[in-house]
């Protein structure tokens, strides 16, 4: 049986017991005895909330053992337990209804308690058969190991718990800064194309895993996509589309399904997971998946399909300058409008058809003049060209145009080919004077709007716009209010009619 350690005692019967600065006795290792695996999980949950599991000791080992009197126990051994973590880990073990022992080898004695603040020693070592002998105040257990489980295996087998409220739940349409998504093989290219079209910054790769029905042949199985700064408008698409599973990164290589959490705080379990492996925790019934080696993600710009070529628009670029040798060479090229993947292009103008001008009127009437002052408009036969000096806002209709160069407007999602520099485009198309050259679509001819045709957008200008297209009536003019009315009294008022009623 055990005996209380006295103050100043330095020699002990139990091997490898030492005294710390306070006079408290501890062995090299710590051992915790739990009656069920659930209590062991509770212990890990509590311990991981306070510290990293790698701070507990050099190695964690879980054993299933049977006592001499027949009960089955779960033992957790922490080898070379850290002195700094002992108090926290003992507190977690007590909360999880586990019994704590200290010692080394096969002999462990109860840790200190209120009855013996400096700890316990044993009267004599027991010779009972078993892999480990536990000495308590009123008991002595000899246990025989029946099986072993690594902490990693335990973590992988636990089921995720749904987060019902709070920022990590699915109740708020808000996406984390970095989001991982696994997509079934067939859906992957479509999603990549969609993300690329939306101008989202993302990386992707294919996860391969052995197929059991093809003789161990390796084939693509899933796409893994990492999305940076995902816009919240994609919330529904990414989180609720069948075939897609969104993951939130909780550790360097550990991802947990968005809207769920692991029973153990995985942030504290960095050292448990192999460095060369990515682990995906999915909700039940899907089991956790380990991907080894770490997948190398590629920018989705390199993965999407190349855009198709559009129909040529004939916008002749003026001949290039004669070469320095003096030989004049007339070289012409045609600019074509083609679809290109948008890269976060900001629309600066809109070509609003006349049928939608009434929308512009209604929005314009409700906006302050200071906002309208940022826009210039030109009335064209095909519609109203609205040009935003500081970008286009508040007008989400019409054909949105972006600036391919200063004064050169192409539809958003389109570009000009051949891809000449912006400076050359500006020079050759002559937009330096403030005029605009608009390429309305791949099928239509470009046109030029002179600077003098652009007028400041004001409410009364909007009022002059007819809803039906008639170019002859589209004369926009800005009427400035006159000077302040100035009261002038007639010098002398004769009042011959004062009595008049």
């Amino acid at each position: 049986m055990v005996v209380r350690v006295a103050s100043g005692q330095v020699r002990f019967v139990l091997p490898l017991l030492t005294v710390d600065a306070r006079g408290v006795v501890f062995g090299r290792d710590l051992l915790f005895r739990f009656s069920t695996i659930e209590r062991l999980v509770a212990f890990f949950r509590l311990a991981s909330s306070e510290m990293g599991l790698d701070e507990l000791g050099t190695e964690l080992r879980i054993n299933f053992a049977r006592a001499s009197h027949g009960t089955r126990e779960v033992l957790l051994t922490i080898e070379q337990a850290s002195p700094h973590a002992i108090d926290s880990v003992l507190r977690a073990a007590r909360a999880a209804q586990g019994a704590a022992y200290t010692g080394a080898g096969r002999h462990f004695v109860s840790v200190r308690d209120r009855l013996s603040p400096l700890g316990y020693d044993v009267e004599s070592l027991s010779g009972e058969p078993g892999d480990v002998v536990l000495y308590g105040n009123e008991h002595l257990h000899a246990l025989t190991f029946e099986g072993e489980l690594s902490v990693l295996q335990l973590l992988l087998r636990l089921e995720l718990v749904r987060v019902k409220s709070g920022p990590d739940s699915l109740s708020l349409p808000k996406l984390p800064l970095t989001l991982h998504v696994t997509v079934r093989r067939g859906l992957g290219p479509a999603l990549l194309q969609s993300l690329h079209h939306a101008g989202v910054h993302a990386f992707a790769t294919v996860i391969e895993e052995p197929s059991m029905h093809d003789g161990g042949h390796v084939e693509p199985s899933l796409w893994l996509i990492r999305i940076e700064n995902a816009p919240n408008r994609l919330w529904g698409k990414l989180l609720h589309t069948p075939g897609m599973m969104a993951f939130t990164q909780v550790n360097e290589n550990v991802l947990v399904a968005t809207g769920f959490r692991h029973p153990v705080h995985l942030e504290a379990c960095q050292s448990i997971f192999p460095e060369d492996t990515m682990v995906l925790f999915s909700p039940s019934p899907v089991s956790a998946r380990m991907i080894r080696p770490l997948p190398k993600l590629l920018p989705i710009e390199d993965l999407v399909r190349l855009p198709s070529m559009g129909v040529h628009s004939s916008a002749n670029v003026a001949p290039v300058r004669p070469s320095s040798s003096g030989l004049a060479v007339d070289l012409y090229t045609q600019l074509s409008v083609i679809r290109v993947p948008p890269r976060g292009d900001v629309p600066v103008a809109a070509l609003v058809p006349w049928s939608q001008v009434r929308w512009l009127k209604r929005i314009g009437a409700g906006l302050p003049q200071s906002v309208l002052a940022n826009y210039k408009v030109a009335a064209l036969s095909r519609g109203l060209l609205v040009f935003g000096l500081q970008g286009l806002q508040f007008m989400p209709f019409g054909v949105l145009l972006r600036a391919a160069a200063k004064g050169v407007l192409v539809p958003v999602g389109h570009g000009l080919r051949p891809a000449v520099s912006a400076a050359l485009l500006e020079e050759q198309l002559g937009t330096a004077d403030g005029s605009l050259v608009v390429f309305p679509s791949p099928q239509e001819e470009p046109f030029r709007v002179a600077f003098s045709d652009l007028v400041a957008l004001e409410r009364h200008v909007l009022g002059e716009l007819a809803v039906s297209p008639d170019p002859s009536t589209h004369t926009l003019e800005t009427i400035e209010p006159g000077p302040s009315p100035d009261i002038r009294y007639r010098s002398s008022i004769s009042m011959p009619l004062w009595g008049e009623k």
């Binding site: 919240n232 009437a365 409700g366 006159g482």
Partner: protein, 370 residues
């Protein structure tokens, strides 16, 4: 009559020298209304008046059509003329009986009541919109004989002859008629009747001191959604802290009135008032205008932040989150709630106003319901 339209009514809307002569009496007014404009050769002048009024109206509402020069126009113009004529030096010395006669007749003309339609409100406003800009010349003539003042025109030339010999010196200044000179005391009912006939003038200038802001008058014009949106856009341009504070304080006063004591003392009206102020703040946030709301508006929005239906129009609330119409606004409103202390100056008034509004949770305000 032609002189009246060309020398008074046209400058009243177009700006420039505004000739004010003796008051117009009922017989002259009756003749003016009965006789078609082309008969006295004023067609071109009336066309010019119409053009300027149309431009004024379109600055406020792009869909405003050409306004007609009708009897209402004539009544407002004549009443305004008579109001201004009361400041004539010759009228200062007139007897109280004469002044009362002028005011009484003009009051009859100005008592048009609240405008029945949004178009009518705009048409009336285009006639009187520049009242706040009216200026008057004032000259002080100093000579060896002393100092004399001349208002509304230069001093006679005979008094400025031989300036060196007679040591003549003239100082000149322009004074705003409404803010610096003010309405004559006896003409206050006339001024209030003009304000009631043209509530847009009050709505577009809530920071004025006289007359104080009254939601009774504001409801007469803000009940038209297109005008409410236009007015809020105009006010946001002037700065939220300047214009929203008097409106919020006036709403606290309005909400404290016993329900039913006045036609507009209802919970519907309070709901609308909160929604209008919230819309101004929404516009302020959405357009990225600089500045922060004052304490009264902040307290009101903070108190109403628990009720999204009060601070967001139903159609904006129904917009998808990706539209970005609500999130920046609600973020600012929730920030206000954290910033406003429970014991701040307007906290109790704001809570009482919101409590009054909560009595009617069925009243839905729409941003684009017209």
């Amino acid at each position: 009559m032609k002189a009246f339209w060309s020398n008074f009514a046209l400058p009243l809307v177009a700006g420039g020298p505004l000739q004010v002569s003796r008051p117009i009496w009922p017989k002259t007014f009756a003749k003016m209304v009965a006789q078609p404009p082309h008969q006295f050769g004023a067609s071109s002048i009336l066309a010019a008046i119409m053009k300027h009024r149309w431009a004024i109206g379109r600055r406020l509402w792009p869909g405003f059509g050409p306004p007609a020069v009708d009897e209402t126009t004539a009544r407002l113009a004549v009443a305004t003329h008579n109001l201004l004529s009361l400041g004539h030096p010759s009228m200062q010395t007139a007897s109280a009986r004469v002044r009362d006669s002028v005011i009484g007749f003009s009051l009859e003309l100005a008592k048009l009541g609240p405008p029945p339609t949004a178009t009518a409100a705009l048409e009336r406003h285009t006639m009187l919109s520049r009242m706040g800009e009216l200026e008057r010349d004032e000259h002080d003539l100093h000579s060896w004989l002393g100092t004399r003042s001349f208002v509304g025109g230069p001093p006679p030339k005979r008094l400025t002859f031989w300036p060196k010999l007679r040591k003549v010196q003239v100082t000149h200044q322009k004074r705003n008629w409404l803010r610096e000179l003010g309405v004559p005391n006896d003409a206050r009912p006339l001024w209030e009747a003009l304000g009631e006939a043209n509530p847009l003038m009050e709505a577009l200038d809530p920071s004025r001191l006289d007359p104080p802001v009254s939601w009774d008058h504001l409801f007469a014009v803000l009940r038209f959604p297109l005008l409410a949106r236009a007015v809020s856009a105009h006010l946001v341009e002037q700065g939220l802290a300047v214009v929203a504070e008097p409106l919020a304080v006036a709403l606290f006063v309005h909400a404290a009135a016993k329900e039913g004591s006045r036609p507009t003392a209802t919970s519907d009206a309070v709901v609308f008032g909160i929604a209008f102020l919230a819309h101004m703040f929404w516009l302020h946030v959405t357009t990225g205008a600089p500045g922060e709301p004052g304490p009264a508006l902040a307290a009101l929005l903070a108190a109403a932040s628990d009720e999204p239906w009060l601070v967001l129009p139903a159609d904006v609330r129904a917009a998808p989150p990706s539209a970005g119409l609500t999130e920046p606004f609600l973020t600012r409103v929730y920030a206000l709630r954290l910033a406003v202390r429970e014991n701040s100056t307007f906290a109790s008034e704001a809570h009482a106003t919101v409590a009054q509004a909560k009595k009617n949770s069925q009243f839905a305000v729409l941003l684009f319901d017209q």
